[in-house]
Amino acid sequence: MFDKEPNIDIVFRNGLRNFEVLPPSDVWDNIPPMPVRKPRYGLIMGIAAGISVLVSITLFASWYLRSSGNAGEGTQLAMAANDQLAITETPAAISNTVIPATTIAYRNTSVQAPVTVKNNDIIEGMVETPVVSPTVSDFAEPEEVTNYNKTLPLTNDNITVIASTRLTGHGSFSSQTMTPDKPEASEQRFMVGASVSPSMGFSPSEQNAHMAELIGSEKTRPSYTTGLTFGYKLSQRLTIQSGIGLESVGQTITGVDVFAGLSDFYSAKSNYLYSVETASGTILAGNTDLYLADTKNRVGSTIPTDMADPSKYNLTQVGSNIHQVFRYLELPIVLRYKVIDRKVGLNLSGGMSYGYLVDNYAYTRDEYGTIPVGRTEGVNVHSLSSQLGLGMEYNISSTISFNFEPILKYYVTPVSDFSGTLYKPYSVGFFSGIFFKF
């Protein structure tokens, strides 16, 4: 089992075992206090703060949109009142304000009641039939409305139309505020869908030399997120989405030679025999049949060096890389704003996502399949990431839409606080999903 070695080695090994020398007294004075690890409740508070901010933004946006709608209505009413006043005081101007019946070739006939005009002298040439009120879409045909000299207040959803009719005996100017057909009011506000988001991670540049060395020998693996998404339309353009998903991320640690068959020679007494330093934590090789070796001082061993040297055994190499996999249960909250609201629309989205680590393993791969290595210690169980996206929404029908959206995702909390550094990778991916509205 052991190589025959010169006795001089054994003389020194045994002679220096347990040898102690008191260090100079000033060494301790030059060792700074160990930094205290951040308590976990800090992360929880951070998550709570993030959610609070999102909820606040949502409530504010909801309130703002609602109040904007009210303001619009108020403005129109005021305009209608002003128009009425103007008509009363300056009759000459009215001919330019009222809508001649001859020019009204509108399709809409949804006016419930005609409006009467008291002062017949003021309104000249008006038709005696009820005037139908136009809708927004009708006014969008300028070639048919040729006699307008004054711009009508068509900038909001509600349209105030001053209509007149010649009736004898009574009647007065009045305005009627009409609400155009509002399909939005009755349209689907809820949505549910399935999504998948393939992505590719990147590591930020690292100033810590040791960390940079570790990152340099690691390759990010393609990752993906699948999940169910629920949405609620806060307004015509703004939607809040949440849901539940499973995110799978990982990386490949290169340059670690993995040999199998160690258990034939060495009986492990600990839960693991080898460890591998990575940017995301330390892989503890719970598979005690494996012998690990590398050239970058990342591999550590619990095998006492004076007991065995596995490098001298006849072992079979089964891999030269180790793959790390982390799976998170993901709870996102995303606000999605329709920049262009058409059949093929454009969405801007932003939000945050809480992740809970549910799976963590490392493996290597040979020609016959995968071989488990162990798990990574030091990975933070909770994660918080932010995301930003700009993408396309294709409305296949009134109830089904398809989203395709490039997204940038950044980890707000570090994946690991290994070596005191804050390792926060980011990723670029595509959110794609199909949604059913109801």
Partner: protein, 186 residues
Amino acid sequence: MQKEKDIIDGCLSGSRRDQELLYRRYSPKLYAVCLQYSGNTEEARDVLQEGFIKIFANLSHYGHEGSFEGWMRKIIVNTALEKYRNRYYLSRVDDIDEVDEPAAGPDTSDFAGLEAYDLLNMIMELPPKYRMVFNLYAIEGYSHKEIGSMLNISEGTSKSNLSRARDILQKKVTILTGVSRRMINV
């Protein structure tokens, strides 16, 4: 005596007292390792200091599995290796026929165990390149391939350096004890 796990937990919670307790308990053994790799007390002191800073910084990654002392020793050895690489890379000479001047030995008044001290002193007097290879191979148990990677030398150079180190140590032991090389090798 306070349990090792309690001391570690205390260190993790930021207790300076526990950090000092851990230092006082393990620094004599680890300082001996530092001397073994460094060749002089000044460098050994630096290695011990940097090593303990790393130990405290990475203490949360020690999972109470395996020997804590072994874990710390590995950090100290790696720190000594970094120091060696930084100091000797530019002036590295791999010619096995060239023998460096022995480094100055430590002040004998610092040490208590005479026999072990003699052995340590012999190692410290080795030229740095021989000392590193001998320590890594004979004491730590690394292979020549691993040593080659650690020190950026070929396996052949590692073997040659080891052979040369053994020769030097053998002669010193012979002189000190009066036992012939032949007897030691029996």
